[in-house]
């Protein structure tokens, strides 16, 4: 299995500028990292030339701390029965990704979702404005800096009647006269 995955990596790296790769033999999977510009041609190559015809999934991860979005395409080769994860990173401040729904029309749905949920722009994407949300005015909700609990508290009131709830740790600290310093509270749960 490992050699097969190596071979795939080698074949791709001959044709494209492969930034990095990772092989998971137990999962029959190879991760390939590219620069954003190469993604469409890589996907097209994998689909047309290398049997990776089934697009299992496309996903976006928000690495808030690193200021980047990770865009991942999960491909499956029905004949060889292996997975390829094509990964790239795009800037979080000004996220633009090439529209690729001509390669797989199903990507249209994914791109509409990511446009709405992460604010990633796909130039040339033909789709109605709204996908899941309606009349949404806030920031793209799946971004990590959007606080869903705060939003819910502000907009959807909670039923009163639960105000007498107490925290066990605080109750005990109060009873025994313990002062928990602020820096320790960071670790309280």
């Amino acid at each position: 299995m490992e050699t097969l995955l190596e071979k795939i990596k080698d074949r791709v790296s001959v044709n494209f500028d492969l930034k990095d790769h990772k092989i998971y033999a137990d999962q029959k999977r190879v991760d390939l990292f590219f620069k954003k510009e190469h993604i469409p041609s890589v996907l097209l190559y994998l689909k047309e030339q290398m049997d990776f015809r089934h697009l299992m999934h496309m996903s976006v991860i928000d690495w808030l701390e690193e200021g980047e979005f990770e865009v991942i395409f999960l491909l499956w080769a029905p004949k060889e029965k292996i997975k390829v994860f094509v990964k790239t990173r795009i800037d979080r401040e000004n996220p633009v990704m090439e529209n690729m729904d001509n390669i797989w029309p199903q990507l249209n749905t994914y791109e509409r979702e990511f446009k709405e949920m992460y604010g990633i722009e796909f130039p040339g994407l033909v789709a109605p404005e709204e996908f899941i949300l309606e009349a949404w005015t806030g920031p793209p909700p799946m971004r990590r800096d959007f606080e869903t609990d705060k939003f819910a508290k502000d907009n959807f009131a909670t039923r009163p009647g639960r105000e007498d709830a107490q925290d066990v740790r605080e109750t005990i600290a109060k009873r025994s006269g313990e002062d928990i310093p602020d820096f320790a509270k960071k670790y309280s749960r």
Partner: protein, 181 residues
């Protein structure tokens, strides 16, 4: 309370007795609880023997089952559906989500308390409620109708401003054609 038993006129008593044995439920699966509705309606639990059965359109229905959480987008449609329904009409809140948000209490897209936006006559607890609990809920609704205290629709009319205010707080645009606030 509106219309309590002592003040019910004879004609009301007769009307309510008739109403409670013929509850037509609007077939609108608003949330995940809709999966237990077929089970309740079909052969094992057979709610029809209790006078409960499905109706296809809002104008023919008496009971609006809110089966669980309501997203803001659905809430808008549900309000319209509710307002299209003709009297007598009742709302059953089905499952935890309608009471206090359920497991989606911190979601940015689901409302927490149904009774801020629509009057609710009966709540059924559970996530999701078993068909027995649903039958029990219908039984309770019938009981309330018989007593003449299931007055959600009246409350809605009388306190329309209150409900509208709450609805407008979460529904940012209301752009149904020829059906406006």
């Amino acid at each position: 309370m509106y219309n309590d038993k002592n003040k019910q006129k004879i004609v009301d008593i007769i009307k309510n007795a008739a109403r409670k044995h013929s509850l037509w439920v609007l077939a609108y699966g608003t949330g995940c609880g809709a999966i237990e509705v077929p089970a309740t309606m079909t052969s094992r639990y057979d709610a029809e023997r209790l006078g409960v059965r499905g109706a296809a359109t809002p104008r023919q229905a008496d009971v609006l089952l809110i089966t669980g959480y309501l997203t803001v987008k659905t809430l808008k449609r549900v309000i319209r559906v509710y307002e299209q329904m003709q009297d007598p009409k009742y709302v059953i809140g089905f499952g935890s989500c309608t009471i206090n948000g359920g497991m989606y209490f911190d979601s940015y897209n689901t409302i927490n308390q149904l009774d801020l936006y629509l009057p609710v006559d009966v709540y059924i607890s559970g996530c999701m409620p078993r068909p027995e609990a649903v039958l029990e809920g219908f039984g309770k609704l019938q009981e309330l109708i018989g007593k003449g205290v299931a007055n959600g629709a009246r409350q809605y009319k009388d306190n329309l401003d209150y409900y509208r205010e709450n609805q407008k707080k979460v529904i940012k645009n209301w752009d149904f054609q020829d059906y406006n606030w």
